[in-house]
Symmetry: C2
């Protein structure tokens, strides 16, 4: 912990990993002895994925500001910064407070502000760390201005623009320019640029189709940037993009920074996408749920100890590693494994299976501990601290 920790900031004692798994750290081939279900990070694949995204961002002269709404872990955020990330993006106030508490700096909170409690907490944080905030409505800008002035700060603020998802953001160039001018005029705020995230395009599997759709939105974004320039408000920051569109985003010459989130982990959804443009994801699955067969009494299936509380239900079917077994949720704490072809031998009672979850963000959100494995050995256990609070 560094700096002057204001009273409004949530801090807590760093927790120790549980004894039953902590004793495995450093023990040869210890990954097979983890108490399951357990969330596992393959460190080698993680490092390859992160290096690849750093290269993509640099190829487009973009800063890489990874989104930590997925990992919600200060250890992951620090690993990303060490590998070349410049600043991080957070979805929630609590994520930003947690990251700040662990010494991370230059925090963009990507969710447009509305709640007074969010504004108060983030202005508190801005007295302590570099914080960049987002608005998409003048009411929020005005409330933020009041708090910022009261705190004696000048906070950089981005205007969120809607690039086709119709979820947050202003929709027209006129609204964008009007809000940017309002932000610029308000005391305690500094217009810092724009945020444009097309989350609905990240999951388009076909590379050419996804690239075409991204470029349509990038063209709109380009027109918005031109309009801001004409209004005398050239955006210093243009932030957005995700893992699915990273190559299009980096080569666009529009974004000054990219904020992808899933790339270190990948999941059963992303691994099916043609992200590299050569029919492959380019990135490697690095996140797994380790599970144990706890019942093998049925002829047609076995029961494992990973259910809805260990593997999320959104997204495609989870994939069983090195197997054609089909996973099916069997309750809060149970899953079934079926042979895909009717011919495959089922695992036996007590056997371990590794599962690629459907969606990395929601999988990480279900677990408190990320068991970091290299070459089959547990080398560290990282806490996923920012889960379950906002």
């Amino acid at each position: 912990m560094e700096g002057d920790c204001g009273t409004a900031i949530a801090t807590e004692t760093a927790m120790m990993p549980p004894a039953w798994n902590a004793s495995l750290v450093g023990a040869s081939r210890s990954a097979d002895r983890l108490h399951t279900p357990a969330l596992v990070l393959d460190l080698e694949c993680f490092e390859v994925n992160v290096a690849r995204m750093v290269t993509i961002a640099r190829s487009g002269q973009c800063r890489l500001r990874p989104h930590v709404k997925g990992p919600k872990s200060t250890a992951v955020a620090k690993a990303l910064v060490t590998a070349g990330a410049e600043g991080i993006a957070c979805a929630t106030v609590f994520e930003a407070e947690t990251m700040a508490g662990a010494g991370l700096d230059d925090l963009l909170v990507t969710t447009p502000l509305v709640q007074q409690s969010s504004i108060e907490r983030l202005v508190g944080l801005a007295g302590w760390r570099k914080v960049v905030l987002v608005v998409d409505h003048p009411t929020a800008a005005e409330a933020l201005s009041r708090e910022s002035v009261a705190a004696g700060l000048v906070i950089p603020v981005l205007v969120d623009v809607d690039v086709g998802q119709r979820r947050t953001g202003v929709g027209t160039e006129a609204d964008l320019v009007a809000l940017a001018m309002r932000v610029n005029d308000l005391p305690g705020l500094r217009f810092g640029g724009i945020q444009a995230y097309y989350g609905h395009l990240q999951g388009v599997a076909d590379h050419a189709r996804r690239d075409t759709l991204a470029r349509e939105q990038l063209q709109r974004l380009s027109a918005m940037v031109a309009e801001l320039r004409r209004a005398g408000l050239p955006p210093e920051i243009v932030t957005g993009g995700g893992t699915g569109t990273a190559t299009s985003d980096a080569s666009s010459c529009i974004f000054t920074e990219l904020q992808p989130g899933s790339f270190p982990f990948i999941d059963a959804a992303y691994e099916k996408e043609d992200l590299a443009g050569d029919g492959t994801a380019g990135f490697r699955p690095a996140l797994f749920v380790a599970s144990t067969v706890i019942n093998a009494a049925q002829p047609d299936r076995v029961t494992i100890d990973a259910g809805m509380k260990a593997i999320p239900t959104d997204g495609p079917a989870p994939r069983v590693v090195r197997s054609a077994l089909r996973y099916e949720i069997a309750g809060d704490e149970f899953g079934f494994l079926y042979p895909a072809e009717g011919s495959e031998t089922l695992p036996r009672l007590g056997d371990r299976v590794l599962i690629v979850p459907p969606h990395c963000d929601t999988a990480l959100n279900l677990h408190r501990w990320l068991h970091v494995v290299r070459d089959g050995t547990v080398v560290d256990i990282w806490e996923i601290e920012a889960r379950g609070e906002w």
Copy 2:
């Protein structure tokens, strides 16, 4: 914290609720000022639900041993015991350790044992609290016996029987009797009875149909009990049942204890079921996700701050309280609200909405804090401590 806390038991300092919501406790009508998303418990409905289940269990001379795999909270478990529960049921080792650490006793761990780490941890716990364990395979019984003997204990063990879900348990009377005899013969163990849970029947919406299916399984269970008696092993405990089948379970004269879990909370799935036999659920929804409208720029929908990390995606559609608005997941942190009829007025920017989640267990599992509300005032904040560990 009471008793002699063994070194193998995970304990941690009780955490304080976050400052931004803790300041609301006791402030009149403060529920509307919670930082959202926030999980809310309506204390009055909770108390009515718990009293109803206590009455159902007592009507059948059954002990009520509520399952805490849903709440995963020691404060909830203590409230249940105060209201008349005798002992509690846990799904995971960590739940049992967490409950024991808070002073709760008589803990049934309902998941059949397989992992050596589970056996070691639970034998550690059994040196400290009354613990009842479950097996469905002789290998587990033998491993448990070894640990129990080494610890100088005699642990009551139930045999899990499959009553139609084909998920855990032994399937035939012969296997049941053989395993019960094995448990009875092994040193360090005492055959305590049987566990029979038909989770697949809990969600059958029609009362008569659900009752018929439950009674079919209860008949099988009755035959199993008779077979155990003939073998000289009358079961002291026959445990099982859930919220959906509670009235059938209590009136069966077979169960000695019921282990329902959802009844204090209810959810969008259970509230549609005819649980009372009069076309209604009988129980009241007591669990809600409070959320804020963060974008109202679109003509046909608004965006709220509760997405996949605040509202689970398993189960039926979430229900918006006192409204016909239709909720749709819009990402990790976002939801859309649409008018159901096209005619309803949409909520405005900054408005609060309360949502009944699809599934109470997985909703509780997403949140760290349960904001306890009576008459619109936050009266307490309870931690959901046992999430994300196993």
